[in-house]
Symmetry: C2
Subunit: 381 residues, 2 copies
């Protein structure tokens, strides 16, 4: 938790649940990234936290932006970003939305399928496009699927087709999986990118860009060995080494799309204990119910994947095992059951708790009003 | 899909994705329930769909309401319900919210823990209270946890404590698990309720109510045997038989809290295909991406639990296997991968699809704007 947030919380008794984000920390993170990958162009993944305060601060830093939808495109433009600094990075776009982005001046688009190349050729002729590669995303901390990307052979054909249809085949992108702790996954992806570069040279296409996506892991709870993540500088060095090894003197432009790593540690959620109970007299664990749960902003507790650190005013005393759950009448609104959480034995209803590193993928995930609970309140300081 | 919705869709080219709900069907469902469990008092589980149009229609039918939060309490009162017809059914409530409901005239509350009895005694003195029993919820179609309820021995002590603290020990509640297909689960729960009734008689407490909760299953996709559900009338008969067997001439008042079974089949979602693609040339399955996904209202596709029927304009031709996914840049936004969905081979981007029986647990679940996509639009006709 940053000093500015500590001061803010000590000076203000805010209603709960509320997300408090230190925008200065986001700017520090941006600058840290820029130092770590010198020459790389940073496209902030807006979906991680689309608050205008964050986008405006990053516009002032001259950041670029990765937009997941036409709505995010409009949002970043409304916050002062230039259209030439926006990448429409979702590989699944309605043709009308591509046309709308094109009309707004956006000139860079992702794709991973023939259908999308056709839409782009019709709705955004002449634009730069990049193809997303399919990866297996082993060791990622967030569940993965085969939802995005295509294999190298198809990517080659699609980039050739893109050229033939009047688009500019600009580069390749990938995503190693969110909260990726195995740094060799970037090397696998960069090697595959190089294969694609080489394959296209034979067709007279010289790609000029590798988009590293996101996936840089953020430290959450660190009580167990499996919760440990490599530091940002270690990850940066591994990626730079891999790029040098595979591309050497033929280094393309490098894009990166950090989201989580840019905003997660800039935010905390102030919440309240609603109830502490047991189900049977000899229960070894208490149930601790908070006023925030899976549907109020903590969606990333899905499958107990993201394990946030929880601070309480009673920390320091004796702790005991707990199940942590949210306030809704939904059986699935349980945050941590198997993850082995412990909380102070004297924790009681009405106590405040702070959920750390919650600046990313919280406020925008929350429901419009499941069980009637309003969306998470937000303060940007 | 009801005739009224068919007519509405043929007369209006609505934007997608949009939920369309036939309020007349909700009223029919209410009346069906009332016929099926004569004498039972129906408390509509507002969380299933809190639209004012639905609540107002049910107020006209003289329904009671199960509210999951103080926000839902206020919502039903604003729609014209009398406070005496509202049950504050969440066992996890802030003391301030109990006090607020009490001040509004709500006199019926659920609990399952000592902490909650204490809060109720302080904030809603003299109120009727009922204790929720813990069940294992086997065979439920929606994931279950031990989040709600306590065991019979504890329930007995808590109801005695409630009386001693100035509350009125009114009854018992349970929930067999949402989308419960095994009708014997109600019998297990009703038998356990009877044990509690008997145990309390020894302490001079005569309970007067059994709250059957919800859980009545709704038919969704019916292509596989495991997707088949008992009919409403079969379920109603099984429950009535069980009540007669266990309570006989000592029948208490019966409450039921249908949510899904009241509104699911009254609604459909009109959506659009954004992209159809393959990941590799020899993929046996296509990926069909819709403009609605897990974060836009189809949260109940979690673990592929709720399997909606999907209609397309091209139905009738040859079909092939598909993965169905949503439009966001999130790997988890995949609706059906293992569930064996098939869709027409000529399905293409821009095609309309209709997702059936989506009146419950859709609009209120959707995110405020994950990836920038606005919440699901809604029409109540």
């Amino acid at each position: 938790m940053t000093e500015k947030i500590k001061r803010f919380l000590s000076e203000n008794r805010i209603a709960t649940p509320t997300l408090v984000v230190d925008v200065d920390r986001v700017v520090e993170n941006y600058r840290g990234f820029a130092r770590l990958l010198p020459g790389a162009q940073i496209y902030y993944a807006v979906k991680a936290n689309p608050a205008p305060q964050i986008i405006k601060a990053l516009v002032r830093e001259d950041s670029c932006f990765d937009a997941a939808s036409i709505f995010e495109v409009r949002q970043v433009l409304a916050c002062g970003a230039e259209a030439r600094k926006v990448s429409f990075g979702n590989t699944i776009k309605k043709e009308d939305d591509i046309a709308a982005a094109h009309a707004l001046g956006v000139g860079l688009y992702a794709f991973d399928s023939e259908g999308e190349v056709d839409k782009l050729a019709r709705a955004a002729p002449g634009s730069k496009v990049y193809c997303r590669l399919l990866l297996t995303n082993e060791s990622a901390g967030w569940p993965t699927s085969r939802k995005f990307g295509c294999e190298v052979e198809m990517a080659r054909d699609l980039l050739i087709a893109a050229r033939d249809k009047g688009l500019v085949p600009f580069g390749v992108s990938f995503h190693v999986g969110s909260q990726q702790t195995d740094l060799t996954q970037w090397d696998v992806a960069i090697a595959r990118s190089k294969v694609l570069f080489t394959a296209l040279e034979g067709a007279g296409i010289k790609l000029g860009m590798v988009n590293l996506g996101g996936g840089i892991p953020v430290p959450y709870r660190e009580s167990a060995p499996q919760d440990e993540v490599p530091s940002l500088s270690t990850a940066g060095r591994a990626i730079a080494d891999s790029l040098n090894r595979h591309f050497g003197n033929q280094m393309p432009r490098i894009f990166a799309e950090p989201g989580r790593a840019m905003v997660a540690d800039a935010g905390i959620i102030e919440a309240e204990v609603v109830l502490v109970s047991r189900k049977v007299y000899d229960d070894s664990r208490r149930w601790v119910y908070l006023d925030i749960g899976k549907y109020g902003g903590l969606a990333e507790t899905l499958d107990e994947c993201i394990r946030y650190r929880i601070e309480t005013a009673r920390d320091g005393g004796t702790t005991g095992p707990v199940v942590v759950a949210g306030p809704t009448c939904d059986e699935t609104d349980v945050l941590y059951d198997r993850a082995g959480y412990e909380l102070p034995l004297d924790l009681a209803a009405g106590d405040r708790v702070r959920i750390l590193a919650t600046g990313a993928y919280t406020s925008s995930y929350c429901s419009v009003g499941f069980n009637g609970f309003p969306p998470l309140a937000e303060h940007y300081i």
